[in-house]
């Protein structure tokens, strides 16, 4: 069978400072009808760029400099804008990472759904609406008859992601590009979306390019996997071969990440005073309670992972501990001593003891200050060091986070990579010489290899300095890697808490079980087995039955 999509020697350049730099250095790609290709790699590998180029599209400041992208015999690199417009949306469709940002906030979902079929003359509006409702039903959206008539902001992220898949299907395209469609979703929601996408792609025999950085996800979705590294292909093989016998070292290193796990620490001696004690905290935004009677302890030198989906109250708990949001009921104790609820009433020393590291190192560092200034500020503020003493302390901190002081002291955040920025965030927290650090999703914006480096660093620092961590995360792999104790939260309540080993050994609380079983595994049959286990039959079949 001939290829539906053939890419040969694709080279793409991006412009920065008036010069064109290579992003993709000659990639080949073959895709047959009905086949799903997984594109995998870390950020900067060029996955999305290739995905868009497969549609003959480049973003502003990016250009295809060489090669061909042939879709069904038409070279999209050389085709006119009008020819490409005739294909886009009709025969090649796109599903973006963030459905919330990719749906136009000004129009109802169904109006955006019918737009491509009507504009391309594939269908009229009335019948396209009917078809949309049918697709919503197939994708198991709640209230399929009504959900399309809402505005995007009235629908949850996971539902929007499925509505966008339905929208991509509206003209029954031959090829769909899925660009990290589940990255922004919670694990439990991700499963539903993955299952929906897989079933509908199979049912309509649509070819797809599935872009992701998550190996376990791609293992469920793709027939073939292509691994990319900085604009070059590393290797390509069918999914099972790739998982069981990767050839290249880089691929093996990607596969190995998940093995990292810190050894468990001995149990805390009874009667020890916890460093941080959250006692029966109920907190509200306005008049709505968002935390309900939350209690847990964090002991010296321990890591407590607070796990839950978005909206479960993890970050709100952190805000209560730091005093940014005074609890309505309950109290926070530090070393057995109750802290004032409002941070403005806490002493400088009380403030110094608890520091934070943020999810987005990009926005948490002042872009106008050098690394030396960013770390030097808390050194001076809390430690009272100035001049050469301050410089010496900053150098010491930079060494602790494994950045060469002479090289990095005068750099700006924009001159650092994502992982390095997060290290600077760690150094800034350490500068206050705290006993306790809240890490708020510190690795979720980072690639797995980089994230692992950060987790190792945090572990080493804990051993060396006896730090206690509260580790907020939605990623159970991270929990497995570094936690001593786990607190599971849902809807502002603590569902379950205890030592990590207990948490990862059955029996679990039903919700913990749902969370744990929803984390994708590298086994290509994982999703299929899980769906069967949960009693969800083949969604496509279920929909066909109803038709």
């Amino acid at each position: 069978m001939s290829n539906l999509l053939t890419i040969r020697g694709l080279k793409i350049e991006g412009r920065s400072d008036e010069t064109w730099n290579p992003i993709i250095n000659g990639v080949d790609l073959n895709l047959k009808k009905g086949e799903v290709l997984g594109l995998i790699g870390e950020s900067g590998a060029g996955k999305s760029t290739i995905g868009l180029a497969a549609m003959g599209y480049t973003r502003d400041g990016v250009r295809i400099s060489d090669g061909t992208v042939e879709f069904d015999g038409i070279d999209l690199v050389r085709a006119s804008a009008a020819v490409k417009r005739g294909l886009l949306g009709k025969r090649i469709a796109y599903v973006a990472q963030s459905a919330a940002a990719s749906f136009n906030p000004a129009h109802k979902i169904i109006d955006q759904h019918t737009e491509a079929p009507v504009q391309h003359g594939v269908d009229n509006r009335a019948s396209s609406i009917e078809d949309g409702i049918e697709l919503y039903r197939k994708l198991r959206l709640p209230n399929p008859d009504e959900i399309g008539f809402r505005y995007p902001h009235q629908v949850s992220g996971g539902q929007l992601q499925r509505a966008m898949t339905a929208m991509a299907m509206s003209c029954r395209p031959d090829l769909i590009i899925f660009d990290e469609p589940t990255t922004a979703l919670d694990v439990t929601t991700q499963i539903e979306v993955l299952a929906s996408i897989r079933e509908i792609v199979e049912e309509f025999d649509t070819a797809a390019i599935y872009i992701t950085h998550d190996l376990a996800v791609v293992a469920q979705m793709a027939d073939t996997i292509k691994v990319l590294l900085r604009g070059d292909e590393v290797e390509e093989a069918d999914t099972r071969t790739m998982l069981s016998a990767p050839k290249e070292d880089y691929t093996k290193s990607l596969w190995a990440v998940r093995a990292f796990e810190r050894p468990a620490k001995p149990a805390v001696s009874t009667g020890a005073v916890p460093v941080v004690s959250v006692r029966n905290v109920t907190a509200a935004y306005g008049t709505t309670d968002v935390l309900h009677d939350v209690s847990f302890d964090i002991h010296a030198g321990r890591t407590v992972a607070v796990v839950g989906e978005s909206g479960s109250g993890k970050s709100t708990t952190a805000r209560c501990i730091t005093g940014l949001l005074p609890p309505r009921i309950g109290e926070i104790a530090f070393d057995g001593e109750v802290l004032p609820a409002d941070y403005r009433k806490r002493s400088k020393d009380q403030l110094r003891q608890a520091q934070m590291i943020y999810q987005m190192a990009d926005t948490a560092l002042n872009p106008r200050k050098t690394i030396g200034q960013i770390i030097g500020r808390p050194v001076q503020f809390y430690g009272g060091l100035t001049g050469s003493a301050r410089r010496a302390r900053v150098d010491e901190l930079l060494e602790q986070i494994e950045l060469e002081p002479s090289q990095y002291f005068n750099r700006l955040p924009s001159e650092l990579s994502g992982g390095q920025k997060q290290r600077v965030g760690i150094a800034r927290a350490l500068a206050a010489e705290p006993k306790f650090i809240i890490c708020d999703e510190v690795t979720s914006a980072l690639d797995q290899l980089v994230a692992e480096g950060i987790l190792r660093l945090l572990g080493d620092l804990q051993d060396k300095l006896g730090l206690s961590y509260m580790f907020i995360t939605h990623d159970l792999a991270t929990v497995k890697a570094i936690a001593d104790e786990v607190v599971v939260m849902k809807d502002g309540k603590v569902i379950e808490q205890g030592p990590k080993l207990d948490m990862f050994t059955p029996p679990h609380h039903a919700y913990t079980d749902l969370l744990l079983s929803s984390v994708p595994e590298m086994d290509p049959d994982w999703l299929t087995n899980l769906l069967q286990e949960r009693g969800v039959d083949n969604i496509g079949d279920a929909a066909v039955d109803k038709m």
């Binding site: 868009l52 549609m55 599209y57 886009l88 973006a96 940002a101 906030p105 491509a116 902001h153």
Partner: protein, 331 residues
């Protein structure tokens, strides 16, 4: 809370805020006008002013009262929609003139003339500016975009009277299409009125178009990097549809605000154009009253200008809120 009631609440809040602003503005106007050098009595008596005659006129007009008393009696008049009587008229009556007209009767025809001119201008300028803005966004960085920008910017940068005379030269003198004098009066046929207002309206169009056009262009271009615009392009929609259907509805709030600002200017800032075309609007009345220190008329005009600004901005706020689906359709 459902969408309608929350919007109603916001509207009522804004309305209340507008009234408070108007009250504060009334104080500022009153104080500022009273700080004007010279007074009506001296201005009207000119060379023949004796201390006695000045005092007599001041007493007749209530100018000898303390400022606070005068402010409250003025405010009371305003609240009962009684704008008072102009000094000139009062004085005329005192010296045995026939019946007087109130300020309200004086201002009403002038204000309606100004509103007419503003409306004609808005009907030309707003669609023109928005269309040009959309086209400039669509063909951004092309010769068309640059030409449109250059033309509107040069017209806004030239003094209004200069633009007025250029238009008179080309459209009245060299090609007698429109009359150069806009001496409109009551009872005139609409078509004739429109024809006579055309040149001042075109002049004002040239003055206000640039601002609105550039904001339309900028607000749209600002959104072109959004993921939903990329999505619209990847659906294979035409560039025009991407801009009109996907970018424009989300760019409405800033555009509406700039339109309101310019409409307010059309009511409050048209003195020069009125003078050039001898158009009997409120701007001319205002300037004449300042000249002879006819304080009640000046104050009434100022208050009307302030109310126009506040009302138009309030309308813009409400329309901006209505353009946001998150507020119209809460979760």
């Amino acid at each position: 809370m459902d969408g309608l009631s929350s919007i109603l609440k916001i509207v009522l809040q804004r309305l209340g805020l507008g009234l408070v602003t108007l009250f504060v503005v009334s104080i500022v106007i009153f104080v500022a006008v009273n700080l004007l050098p010279g007074d009506f009595a001296e201005a009207i008596l000119g060379q023949g002013a004796t201390p006695e005659s000045v005092a007599k006129i001041r007493e007749d007009l209530g100018l000898d009262q303390p400022m606070i008393t005068r402010y409250f009696s003025w405010l009371k008049g305003m609240l009962t929609l009684d704008l008072g009587t102009s000094f000139a008229q009062l004085n005329f009556a005192n010296f045995g003139g026939a019946g007087t007209t109130t300020i309200a009767e004086q201002i009403a025809p002038r204000l309606s003339n100004t509103m007419f001119l503003a409306a004609v201008t808005a009907c030309i300028a707003v669609p023109l500016a928005v269309t040009l803005g959309i086209l400039a966004a669509l063909y951004r960085n092309t010769a068309f975009d640059k030409a449109a920008n250059m033309f509107t910017l040069s017209s806004i940068s030239s003094p209004e009277f200069f633009m007025a005379y250029v238009l008179i030269l080309f459209l009245a003198v060299l090609n007698p299409i429109f009359p150069s004098l806009s001496n409109i009066f009551e009872g005139m046929a609409f078509s004739e009125r429109l024809e006579k207002s055309m040149l001042p309206a075109l002049t004002l169009t040239l003055v206000v178009t640039a601002h609105m056009m550039r904001m339309t262009r900028a607000a749209i271009i600002n959104l072109l990097a959004s993921p939903y615009i990329e999505m619209a392009r990847l659906k294979g929609l035409s560039p025009m549809r991407v801009i009109v259907k996907h970018a424009l509805p989300n760019a409405l709030a800033p555009i509406i605000n700039v339109i309101a600002l310019n409409l307010a200017y059309l009511i409050t800032g048209v003195v020069v154009v009125e003078v050039v075309f001898v158009y009997p609007g409120i701007g001319q009345l205002f300037v004449d009253s300042v000249k002879i220190r006819d304080i009640p008329v000046v104050q009434a005009c100022c208050l009307i200008f302030a109310a126009a600004y506040i009302l138009l901005n309030l309308t813009a706020d409400i329309l901006s809120i209505l353009s946001n689906p998150r507020l119209r359709h809460p979760k």
